[in-house]
Amino acid sequence: MAPAILIENLQKSYGKVVAIQDVSLLVQPGEIFGLLGPNGAGKTTTLRILCTLTTPDAGKVEVSGISVLKYPKLARQKLGYVAQEVALDKILTGIELLQLQAALYHIPTAVAKERINKVLDLLGLQEYANQKTGTYSGGLRKRLDLAAGLLHQPDVLVLDEPTVGLDIESRFVVWDFLRQLRASGTTVVITSHYLEEIDALADQVAIIDSGLVIAAGTPSQLKDQVGGDRITLRIREFSPSEEADKAKYLLEQLPFVQEIIINKAQGNSLNLVVTPQSEALISIQQALNNASLPIFGIAQSRPSLDDVYLAATGRTLMDAELAAIANFDPKAKKQQNMR
């Protein structure tokens, strides 16, 4: 069976600005594939090429075995694209927008009527269906945009930053919905610069940075590669630094502890990197107990995707975001996105 998406050695520059240096991705049918990276990493450009909005300088792009570059129209039928900026016609009602969308995909009127009804149900939009989209909240707009992207029942649904700017509740609605889609066999590709989002949703992840894929695999694999578990320990809600130092010294004696950092910003809590093992928490508790130190809170977790990003690039995703914001040129961005 052909992969849902095959991208090989993709390259794209806008003038002197290199948007994509070399990106290769393989997405299998029925999975949620997450593209993680800071702003300006090349995520959106990759998706725009995939959805036939931009042509690459070089590389191969296929959707369900169909070359996007050779047969763009065929590929468009297989793809649903939900752009980052929700572009609705605010004069149209929700239902009118969906009717327009259905006609653009040549869905027969009778079928369209039934499907529109279904997507409205599915995304909880029935009661707003006859209101102008100009009156919608951000969450509603996104949901309508999602509904529109799904009307033609695409093999692959492509979502660019689907939850940016959404309230928490709408975000969970979108997450749930994407999981339901996956359960029914639709391939979903999402970009995000929210680590938790990719972590919570994606079966496969590619982390891209400066137009290059710097890591790819399942979230689990990527975390295993970084190695070590993370333990956050709070002796008290706000520990005196002498106590924190003492605990640090004590715990460094334990054989499985690799590294300890005292986080002053969080009440002198201790951040430990440990070799994964089941008794870690108990051993730590005993060690502290023996030294008559209390424990306010202790939690063990696997490395996050941020740790993966840090290991691959030497900077945290937050740092990369801040750098990207500093270099952001809204005018150039707009020109790129306009057709």
Binding site: L53, R76, L88, E96, S184
Partner: protein, 253 residues
């Protein structure tokens, strides 16, 4: 390999009717479907935001009244033996209104570009992207014909009389061709220029100068030599000629 989203598990239990969309041989059916849908959108917009149409009707009527008054004392016979200035002007205003309306056709498309709505059309498997052009043309032509009807009625009310059937047909044909051609140019500009500011600037410098350097308001014989040259080259003067249209006017008796 899935071909259908199994929505039933979350929604109703009714059976899904349609299969996966396939590239159809029905090119003209698809073209018609998408063109009608895009045209419908434009008409819904007009219906809910009629201010541009209202302005587009008031303005030419104002032209008729004001320019009619301005040239009230023009010498008899200047516009041909049987034509009075009201008739001459009505023809010019119809042509100019159709021209100006069509010149604005690119604006909605430009805004669609800027707001990203156009991307929605471009990622869809349209039979042909000309459907975007056709929809605009149908919309603008309908609007221009409506405006022309109002102008003819207003001119009649102001004393120019009503054209006969052949005259009306000629008006419709000229408006149709002019709106079609200028809409095409405007849409071309909407895709070529970087943004709506530039498009508005082009419309701004084109509109009124073309009006005054044409035979819409005054005949060639009224103009100095250099202006005659420009007016002759001006597409606004190429209306199958106001004299032709209004020769067929039934002048009252």
């Amino acid at each position: 390999m899935k071909t259908e989203i199994n929505w039933q598990q979350v929604a109703s239990s009714s059976t899904e009717v349609a299969a996966t969309p396939q590239l159809s041989d029905n090119f003209f059916g698809e073209l018609l479907q998408e063109t009608l849908a895009l045209t419908r959108r434009l008409f819904i917009q007009l219906q809910r935001r009629p201010s541009t149409l209202v302005a587009g009707i008031i303005q030419p009527v104002m032209w008729l009244v004001l320019f009619g008054a301005l040239f009230q004392n023009a010498p008899q016979g200047l516009f041909g033996a049987t034509t009075n200035y009201g008739q001459f002007l009505a023809a010019g205003v119809i042509v100019f209104t159709a021209f100006a309306g069509a010149l604005n056709a690119g604006l909605p498309v430009m805004f669609d570009r800027e707001f990203g709505f156009l991307n929605r059309l471009l990622v869809a498997p349209l039979a042909s992207r000309f459907s975007i052009v056709f929809a605009s043309a149908i919309f603008i032509i309908s609007q221009s014909l409506l405006q022309a009807s109002v102008i003819v009625a207003a001119a009649a009310f102001l004393g120019a009389g009503l054209p006969n059937a052949v005259g009306l047909g000629a008006i419709a044909l000229v408006v149709f061709l002019l709106a079609l051609g200028v809409t095409a140019i405007s849409l071309g500009l909407a895709f070529a220029l970087p943004g709506h500011i530039e498009l508005i600037a082009v419309i701004f410098v084109t509109n009124l100068p073309l009006l005054f350097a044409s035979t819409a308001l005054a005949p060639l014989s009224f103009m100095p030599q250099w202006l005659q040259v420009i007016a002759t080259l001006n597409p606004l003067s190429y209306r199958s000629n106001q004299f032709v249209i209004f020769t067929y006017i039934v002048t009252g008796d």
